[in-house]
C-alpha cells in the first residue's frame, strides 16, 4: 500500500502559527518554528536554547523543586480539563519504597476542532521530549510513552527521529546530564477510538486492552499503568514545562494579559467560515473577539457569525455577544461554558443548528465506548431525535426529551466525561436556538437527513 507522496510537500500543520511574528520571550511554544514548517531537529533545537531547561532541572533542582516551580507558575493542563500540572505532579505517589512509574503523554488529539498537538509534534518534537524529561524527573517516572493517534503519521516520524537523536546524544537513557537520572521514551500509536484520549481509557489501551475508562479512585497518580504511579499530561502542557524551568516563574507570570487568572500562553485557533482560519500561540486573557477579528480576519464575506464554540466539540455554544469574553478558564466560565482546548469554531448563518448538532451527536454516539448505559443508549437516542427534527418529522415533546437527555447524561451521571461533553453543546444550542429545534416538529421539509450509520463498529 505504498503511497504516492509528492516530494517536498509541506507538513500538514504548516500554517498561521508559522507566519506570525514570534519571539523567545513571548512565544515559548512556537518561537523556534521555521517559516517553512521544516521540523526543528536536535542541532537546531540546541542552538535555540534547547534542553537547557531540562539540564537546569536535572542538575540544579530536586524533583520536588521542579514540581513546586511548575505549580507556582500555574501551568494548567492543556488537554481540555485544565487541571494544574504542578498540583497533579505533587499528588503522584513517589519516594522511598514506591516503584518508579510512567509518564504518559496524551497525544490522542481527536476531539473535533482540535489541531494544536499535531503542529507541536510534527515541527518541534524535541520541545515535547524535553518537557517529558523534566516531568518524568519531577514524578520519578522511569519510562515515558507518547500515546499518539494512529493517523498522525508525520508526527510519528518526527517523534521517532527525535527520540533516536536524543538517545544518541545521551539526552535519553542512563544518567542524563550526569545527574544519575535514567529515563527513556517510546512512541505508541493508537488504533482509532476517541475514548482513548480519556486518561484512564488511555492507560487500558496502552496495556493492550479495550479502551474503557477505569473507575477513580484509585487515581493514575497512585496506581495507573501496570499498577504503578502514572502521570498523564497533554502534549501542549508538556511543551510548556521547559521554558518555565529555564526562565522562571516571574517571567511566566508576565505572559498573560491583565484580567486573566490563568498564566502563560496557549495555542488558540479559530476555524469555520472565517477569512484566515488557523492556529496561533497567544497570551491567555486575550478576548475571543481579538482572536476572531485580528488573527482569523473576521468572517468571510457574505457570512455572518451566528454562534461560536470556544474550545472543541465538548464545549458549549456561545453567541456573538459573548465574544468579549477573555480566553482563560474563568473568563469563558463567566459566560457559561468551558474554554476546553481554546481552539474556537465559528458557526455562520448558513448552518442549521439542528443539522450541526446531528453531525456532532453522530460523532459522540459512534465514539461512545459502550461501558455505561446512559451514554451507550442515550447518545444514539439524541441522534435519532435530531435526525427526525432535521427532516421536519419531529414529534411534539422532542425538544423537552432532548433537554431531559442532557440532564440524564450530565456530569456525575456517567462513568467518564464523554457523555457530559456530548450534551454540553446540545444543551447550549437548544438554549440559544430553541426555535430552530421547534421548527423541526412535524412541518414538512425538503431537507432529508443523510442515513449514515450511528455506530461504525
Amino acid at each position: 500500500m505504498s503511497a504516492t507522496t509528492p516530494v517536498n510537500r509541506r507538513l500538514t500543520s504548516f500554517g498561521t502559527a508559522n507566519l506570525i511574528e514570534r519571539a523567545p520571550e513571548t512565544h515559548p511554544l512556537t518561537w523556534r518554528l521555521n517559516a517553512d514548517a521544516s521540523p526543528v531537529w536536535l542541532e537546531e533545537y540546541r542552538a535555540k536554547q534547547g534542553y537547557l531547561g531540562a539540564k537546569r532541572a536535572l542538575t540544579e533542582l530536586t524533583p520536588e523543586e521542579v514540581a513546586a516551580e511548575v505549580k507556582e507558575a500555574g501551568l494548567k493542563g492543556r488537554g481540555g480539563a485544565g487541571f494544574p500540572a504542578g498540583v497533579k505532579w505533587g499528588l503522584t505517589a513517589k519516594g522511598e519504597g514506591i516503584p518508579r512509574g510512567y509518564l504518559l503523554c496524551n497525544a490522542d488529539e481527536m476531539e473535533p476542532n482540535t489541531y494544536k498537538d499535531r503542529l507541536l509534534m510534527e515541527q518541534q518534537p524535541h520541545l515535547l521530549l524535553e518537557g517529558m524529561i523534566v516531568a518524568a524527573y519531577a514524578n520519578h517516572s522511569y519510562r515515558g510513552y507518547v500515546f499518539l493517534r494512529g493517523e498522525y503519521v508525520d508526527a510519528a516520524k518526527s517523534l521517532r527521529r527525535a527520540v533516536a537523536e536524543a538517545r544518541e546524544a545521551g539526552l535519553l537513557g542512563r544518567d542524563i546530564f550526569g545527574s544519575g537520572f535514567d529515563f527513556d521514551i517510546y512512541v505508541h500509536t493508537g488504533a482509532g477510538r476517541y475514548i482513548c484520549g480519556e486518561e484512564t481509557a488511555l492507560i487500558n489501551s496502552l496495556e493492550g486492552r479495550r479502551a474503557n475508562p477505569r473507575a477513580k479512585p484509585p487515581f493514575p497518580g497512585q496506581s495507573g499503568a501496570w499498577g504503578k504511579p502514572t502521570v498523564v499530561n497533554n502534549v501542549e502542557t508538556l511543551c510548556g514545562v521547559s521554558s518555565i524551568i529555564l526562565n522562571g516563574v516571574e517571567w511566566y507570570h508576565g505572559l498573560c494579559l491583565p484580567g486573566s487568572e490563568d498564566h502563560g500562553t496557549k495555542m488558540m485557533g479559530f476555524s469555520g467560515k472565517v477569512k484566515n482560519p488557523g492556529l496561533w500561540e497567544l497570551p491567555l486573557g486575550i478576548t475571543a473577539r481579538e482572536v476572531l477579528e485580528e488573527y482569523a480576519g473576521g468572517m468571510r464575506d457574505g457570512c455572518t457569525l451566528k454562534a461560536w464554540q470556544p474550545g472543541g466539540a465538548g464545549t458549549g455554544f456561545l453567541l456573538p455577544e459573548h465574544l468579549d469574553a477573555q480566553m482563560y478558564s474563568g473568563g469563558i466560565g463567566k459566560v457559561g461554558t468551558r474554554m476546553g482546548t481554546a481552539l474556537s469554531m465559528a458557526v455562520d448563518d448558513s448552518v442549521s443548528m439542528v443539522s450541526l448538532l446531528r453531525n456532532m451527536e453522530e460523532f459522540f454516539a459512534r465514539e461512545s465506548c459502550g461501558w455505561c448505559t446512559p451514554c451507550r443508549d442515550g447518545l444514539p437516542w439524541t441522534v435519532k431525535i435530531l435526525r427526525a427534527l432535521e427532516a421536519g418529522e419531529g414529534e411534539p415533546g422532542d425538544v423537552e426529551l432532548l433537554l431531559e437527555l442532557t440532564r440524564k447524561l450530565g456530569p456525575g451521571k456517567t462513568y467518564c466525561a464523554h457523555a457530559p461533553g456530548a450534551i454540553e453543546p446540545l444543551g447550549s444550542a437548544i438554549k440559544y436556538f430553541r426555535e430552530e429545534f421547534e421548527a423541526g416538529i412535524r412541518t414538512p421539509s425538503t431537507a432529508n437527513a443523510p442515513q449514515e450509520p450511528v455506530g461504525s463498529v
Binding site: T114, A191, E207, A313
Partner: protein
C-alpha cells in the same frame, strides 16, 4: 444500514485459512514486545504490524499473535474488534479516510462525500470492485483549519473541493 460491517465483520469463521506470520512480522512484533512492561501491551501494535504488511488482519492472524504474545486469543480478538482502524476484511489498495466531524461539516464535507460516493460507486465502509479504493469515515483529522480534509493512505489532503477531488485521487493507482 451499517456499511462499516464490511470492514469489521464477525470474527467467528469456521473455515479459517492456514495462516502463518512472516519472519518479518514476527521480528517486528518481538521488537515491540520489548518496549512494554508485558507482552499483552504489544497486541495492538502486533495487529497493526500485520495490517501494515497485508493491508488487513485476516482471522488466522489472531491466534498467531496470541500465541506469540502468550495471551488468550479471545483477548486479541476483543482488541481487534474494539479499534476502528484495525481492518478485519480485505481493503482496497488505497484507503480513503474522509473526516466527517463538525468543522469539516461546516466547510462542506458532505459534498465531498457525495462526490466520492457517486464517482467510486460505493458508500462509506465499502471497497470499489476494482479493489482500488476503500472509503471510510474518520473523526476529526486535526486539520480543521484546512478542511474539508481526507487522508489517502498516509497522505493528508486539505481544502478539498468537489471539482478537483478526482484529480487528487488520480495519483493513487
Amino acid at each position: 444500514m451499517d456499511n462499516s460491517r464490511h470492514l469489521y465483520a464477525d470474527l467467528i469463521s469456521s473455515d479459517r485459512p492456514a495462516f502463518a506470520l512472516s519472519d518479518e512480522e514476527r521480528e517486528e512484533i518481538i521488537e515491540e514486545k520489548g518496549h512494554y512492561e508485558n507482552p499483552r501491551a504489544a497486541s495492538i501494535e502486533a495487529l497493526k504490524i500485520v495490517q501494515h504488511h497485508r493491508g488487513w488482519v485476516p482471522d488466522g492472524a489472531i491466534p498467531a499473535i496470541a500465541e506469540l504474545l502468550g495471551i488468550p486469543g479471545s483477548d486479541v480478538e476483543g482488541v481487534a474488534t474494539f479499534y476502528s482502524q484495525i481492518f478485519r476484511q480485505p481493503v482496497g489498495r488505497h484507503v480513503i479516510r474522509l473526516c466527517d466531524s463538525m468543522t469539516c461539516y461546516i466547510n462542506g464535507y458532505e459534498a465531498i462525500r457525495e462526490r466520492l460516493k457517486s464517482e467510486l460507486g460505493i458508500v462509506p465502509g465499502q471497497t470499489t470492485t476494482d479493489e482500488r479504493f476503500t472509503l471510510i469515515p474518520v473523526c476529526c483529522l486535526g486539520n480543521c483549519d484546512k478542511g474539508p480534509t481526507m487522508m489517502v493512505d498516509d497522505d493528508t489532503h486539505s481544502h478539498l473541493d468537489a471539482e478537483t477531488l478526482m484529480s487528487v485521487l488520480e495519483a493513487y493507482k
